[in-house]
Amino acid sequence: MASSSNLIDALFIFVLAGFIGFEVIRRVSPLLHTPLMSLTNALDAIAVVGAIILVGEHRSTLAATLGFIAVVAATSNIVGGFLITDRMLRMFKASRPAGKP
């Protein structure tokens, strides 16, 4: 549980990470916007760590049940998200050097 100084720390992290996100994502080639979205989707499923603790700690049946569904949903995003991003990126090829006869 977060104390108030932790909350300030958390706000700092949120704002700074948001800035990094903005600067990094701005530079992503529009070519790759679809794989970018599937990749961020997979990364966002890091929420699974919260769900894992709920299931693992088993503090109440309700918490464990909700956590169980949450782990399933997040894991499917991780697996599916990385798989499809990889499939898409493998398709992007540059021109072959000898283009013209």
Partner: protein, 465 residues
């Protein structure tokens, strides 16, 4: 806390730190197709470290249930990673829903575990988490349903729609505030979630297929922000960072998409979509158009030096991208310079058209963004429009009464010759007539995109011997 636990805790935090760095690198490497695959590896490594670190957590006792959940998630995830490229938009929408589901469930569990001993700040963040999460669940499912065409793609609007939506959201916020002040009123919590879920449905009802790229991006942003809020609730820096990255990615993409549709960002944020469609189909008269056969089209293309192909979602619907690749190969062999002009909202999600063309083996350096290629149309011999309509409509530049006035378009009308492959003269997705078709330098090629491009390729092959 025993020293052993403290040591574990430090290891976990270090693993989370490394995972955060890997996530940022992962997105950084997405800047170019040459480094993007490193990005996936970084992302996967970060994810693996984070999950392993979490399993070290000292409170975890029930590994059996966890293993079942992880295996089940993997079983569901694999088919979701193998869908066809045309189905990627609905897959993405579905995964926004899954992500939001995870966040909302964890938030709900935390609410029941922590209340009534919860600080006002935490309760506020938790409310943000579950409201954003809840509306993203149903909103994304609705979007996925529309994209999959289970639900009608046509926008459904009624009078006072925005008022109803805002009232609903206001009620949810009032409940949230009440819960912040009285966290022991636990019975109200389910209502807050139900309202958020209902709001998500109502938010997407008025949205048509053409607005999907913006909507998907926006839902992506909401999913990210709700995950960041969850990071505050759980005091997890890793989650805050991942959520902030995902949130900013979604918001940037929504800004790009809304600019490409000539919508203000606030217009997008408040979900006021779908107005374009209402004011169509007025004052139409029969005007002459010129049409050409595949043979004529092939002759014109073969005589050209520079050709720009403008693909739209219609190309993907007709599954014509592989025939288009054959056309590209055939023309390139003759020494014709063929490039593809990609409008930011072509397709059903950001960048969708690039993926569809890359799947058809068209090299990515031939795919040119709108801003980069628009200046070149005046020096282009032939612009070949396949399955695109509104993004080529010159009325967006000149006709202030047009519903799409102000939307940036591809200036195909400036090319020496324009050829448009189209089934008939019926207006496009947004129901707006396209004056391009009546211009003197325009030729209509009536027919199915796949069949027509196929016959052009055959003609080219025949002519060449």
């Amino acid at each position: 806390m025993t020293p052993e636990f403290a040591g574990n805790q430090i290891i976990i935090e270090v693993l989370y730190l490394i995972a955060s760095v890997l996530f940022i690198l992962s997105l950084k490497w997405m800047s170019s197709p040459t480094s993007a695959r490193h990005g996936i590896w970084a992302g996967e490594a970060g994810m693996l470290l984070a999950i392993c670190g979490t399993l070290l957590h000292h409170g975890i006792v029930d590994y059996r249930l966890l293993a079942i959940a992880l295996v089940l998630g993997t079983i569901i995830g694999i088919p979701l990673g193998r869908v066809a490229m045309t189905a990627v938009p609905q897959r993405t929408a579905l995964s926004h829903a899954f992500g939001a589901l995870c966040v909302t469930l964890v938030g709900s569990a935390e609410f029941y575990l922590q209340t009534p001993h919860i600080s006002p700040f935490l309760m506020s963040v938790l409310s943000v988490e579950v409201i954003l999460g809840g509306l993203t669940i149903t909103g994304s499912l609705m979007a996925a349903g529309k994209l999959q065409e289970i639900l009608p793609q046509r926008p459904m609007t009624y009078k006072g729609q925005n008022v109803v939506n805002f009232l609903l959201l206001a009620v949810a916020l009032v409940i949230a505030v009440y819960l912040v002040l009285h966290p022991d009123a636990r019975n109200l919590f389910p209502f807050m979630i139900l309202i958020a879920l209902a709001f998500g449905v109502l938010l997407i009802i008025p949205i048509g297929g053409a607005d999907m790229p913006t909507v998907i991006s926006l839902l992506n942003g909401y999913a990210g922000l709700s995950a960041a809020a969850m990071g505050f609730v759980l005091d997890s820096k890793l989650l805050i960072i991942a959520g902030a990255l995902d949130g900013s990615s979604g918001l940037i993409l929504s800004i790009i998409m809304s600019k490409a549709m000539n919508r203000s960002f606030s217009n997008v944020l408040f979900g006021a979509f779908g107005q374009v469609q209402t004011s169509a189909a007025a004052g139409k008269e029969e005007r002459p158009v010129r049409s050409a056969t595949a043979e004529e089209a092939a002759a014109i293309l073969a005589a050209a030096n520079k050709v720009v192909v403008v693909p739209g979602y219609g190309m993907a619907v007709a599954q014509a991208q592989h025939k288009v690749r054959e056309l590209f190969d055939s023309l390139s062999k003759r020494g014709v310079d063929v490039r593809f002009a990609i409008h930011p909202v072509a397709g059903r999600m950001p960048g969708h058209m690039n993926v569809l063309l890359a799947e058809a083996d068209i090299p990515y350096d031939r795919l040119i963004e709108m801003d980069e290629i628009n200046g070149d149309f005046a020096q282009t011999d032939v612009a070949l429009v396949i399955g695109a309509n509104d993004v080529t409509n010159p009325a967006a530049r000149s006709d202030t009464t047009s519903p799409i006035y102000g939307m940036p378009i591809l200036d195909v009308d400036k090319a020496h010759t324009v050829m448009v492959i189209k089934r008939s003269m019926s207006p496009g997705f947004a129901g707006i007539d396209n004056p391009l078709y009546y211009l003197d330098n325009n030729l209509m090629l009536f027919g199915d995109a796949k069949a027509f491009v196929g016959s052009i390729v055959r003609e080219l092959g025949g002519g060449h011997g």
